[in-house]
């Protein structure tokens, strides 16, 4: 009884303060987004004001906001598909088929992660221009897998290693080919791992900033992360309520998605990238 009480006190005592500190910026974004633009600097109206949805109206009717969300989603989904198509076979091969070579290749792939976009985008922007992809979403769809694939392979290697070898052997004895065993036996039991990869890939794409700001120039082709800072901030004029609304809207559903899949994510991660 006593230990149960202490157990709860520790859980609440630690998590509640952290939750308040981590989520406070979003709370304050929500408050700011409901203020009339003229009032955000008024020190007497920090808490008392008449809430208005006008900044949300401005966002939807006077900016390309919805188009940016659509662009980010399209690029995100396309990159997820490419990443899975390339990383699943590679991750399986490195986990099961290639022994020591596979292990060093796996570490080598992770090392590519250390090469910052700030270094690569100079030469890449040239390649994009040569391919006549400047200012097109295709440029991002082509380039983003360069950082999602190494990471996905690296995670998937861990997940596939966690699948018991006996399951696969049984399928092979029953006359399955190796590829057949991958599709029919390994993939179905690796679903938590695959979901982990999908979420990770999508979040890396949504977060990306440097390539998006370099390759895309017209307002209608901007993604979310570039559209908000470039189009909602005009010179020194900040429409703070509108900007806060623009940040808040995609953040809430993304966090709900993460939270819903977190247990699977943890299962996946425990599959062990370092085993």
């Amino acid at each position: 009884m006593t230990s149960g009480w202490r157990h709860k006190a520790f859980a609440y005592g630690v998590t509640v303060p952290f939750a308040i500190v981590l989520a406070f910026p979003f709370f304050w974004m929500a408050v700011t987004s409901l203020k009339p633009e003229a009032q955000v600097y008024d020190p007497t109206k920090v808490w008392s004001f008449h809430p208005t949805l006008s900044s949300y109206g401005y966002l939807f009717h006077h900016t390309e906001y919805l188009q940016w969300i659509r662009n980010s989603t399209v690029v995100g989904l396309a990159v997820v598909l490419i990443t899975l198509a390339v990383a699943v076979p590679a991750g399986y091969a490195l986990a099961r088929l290639s022994g020591r070579v596979g292990r060093s290749l796996g570490v080598g792939l992770f090392l590519t992660y250390l090469v910052p976009p700030t270094l690569l985008f100079l030469p890449l922007s040239r390649v994009i221009a040569q391919l006549h992809l400047s200012d097109r979403l295709w440029a991002l769809i082509l380039v983003y897998p360069s950082f999602t694939i190494p990471f996905a392979i690296w995670l998937l290697m861990g997940f596939f290693k966690a699948v018991p070898q006996e399951l696969e052997d049984a399928a092979l004895i029953d006359g399955c080919s190796r590829l057949g065993a991958l599709v029919r036996v390994v993939l179905p039991v690796s679903v938590p791992g695959l979901i982990t990869v999908v979420i990770f890939t999508f979040s890396l794409v949504i977060n990306e900033f440097v390539y998006a700001i370099t390759f895309i120039s017209s307002a209608t082709n901007r993604t979310l992360t570039v559209g908000v800072p470039t189009d909602l901030i005009r010179g020194d004029l900040y429409n703070w309520p509108g900007i806060m609304a623009a940040i808040l809207l995609p953040s809430i559903p993304l966090a709900l998605l993460y939270n819903a899949f977190l247990n699977r994510f943890i299962t996946g991660f425990t599959g062990g990238a370092f085993r």
Partner: protein, 303 residues
């Protein structure tokens, strides 16, 4: 026909052939989109290439020499270390504590977890702009709290991004805030991977509380802690979003890190060769950190 099909199938069953076929697309993709540009960037760092052209005269190590003689570069190198080490030290301590509390089951956990995940799920390029508003010199909500707690003088409010020391603390805070949820999740994964039997055995042997934490939980969590630190370091050192949006290196280059300085030199000032040289300084450092950590992670797991 049948024999040919059989033979093709036989070839596909050979491990080496199949492994090569399955990894080829990935290796090609990475080679073309990371390897080739990286090679080109390394080549550029030895030339005097300027904006608009990707070729220049070979000038050997001159770019590296001029970077090393540049006081701004040296302070950027130091700032990168400070920014990375302090933010990740905060993250690792908080993430360990938070994960141990969050792994327990309690009423309302789903909602608390949602609040904790927010900074990770939200795009950082956007939330960093949010902090631009929270750090606003006239209307900062942080200043408002501090004034009402009587911690600062209303006549002389802190200039969060405008003075060197405050600016560095401000960007470190945002970076720690942003990485903490992710590190916590990695810790959660690590804790839940410890078999229940280990816990039971420790309890039978009489280990409780701090003792159990120090001798049983901590050594078992070392590999996962290393993974969390590794990701934190790589994400922090290679990513320029937070300093770029909040301070763009200022005031007086006091928050200039290697990524922002490479961007300013290579793009804004147009010295592509020198920008590439600055960005390349990070590579051997990070590679060293990674290899050391992978080595320790593996060793910690064997013992």
């Amino acid at each position: 026909m049948a024999a040919r099909g059989m033979r093709r199938r036989y070839v596909l069953e050979r491990k080496g052939v199949l492994a090569t076929l399955l990894t080829a697309p990935a290796v090609l993709f990475i080679g073309l989109l990371v390897g080739a540009p990286l090679g080109l960037a390394i080549y550029l760092s030895f030339t005097d290439a300027i904006a608009g052209s990707l070729s220049g005269k070979w000038i050997g190590l001159a770019n590296y020499r001029s970077a090393l003689n540049d006081p701004i570069f040296r302070s950027a190198l130091w700032n990168t270390v400070v920014f990375t080490v302090i933010s990740q030290a905060i993250v690792i301590v908080c993430a360990g504590l938070l994960a141990h509390a969050l792994i327990r089951s309690f009423r309302g956990r789903w909602f608390i977890r949602f609040l904790i995940l927010l900074p990770w799920a939200a795009p950082i390029a956007l939330t960093a702009i949010g902090f631009l508003w929270f750090y606003d010199p006239q209307a900062s909500i942080f200043t408002w709290f501090l004034i009402h707690l009587h911690l600062v003088d209303p006549a002389n409010p802190p200039n969060w991004l405008g003075t060197p020391r405050a600016a560095m603390s401000s960007i470190i805070t945002v970076q720690a805030w942003r990485i903490l949820p992710f590190a916590t999740v990695i810790f959660l994964a690590g804790i839940s991977s410890i078999p229940q039997e280990v816990d039971d055995a420790a309890a039978i042997d009489g280990a409780t509380g701090l003792k159990k934490f120090w001798y049983v939980s901590l050594p078992l969590q070392l590999p996962i802690a290393i993974v969390a630190v590794l990701f934190g370091i790589v994400f922090t050192a290679t990513d320029m979003i937070v300093p770029y949006i909040l301070t763009n290196g200022g005031p007086f280059n006091s928050t200039q890190v290697l990524t922002t300085y490479a961007f300013q030199t290579g793009i804004n000032a147009g010295n592509i060769g020198e920008g590439a040289a600055i960005a390349l300084f990070m590579l051997p450092l990070l590679a060293g950190v990674t290899i050391a950590m992978l080595f320790f992670a593996r060793r910690a797991e064997v013992t």
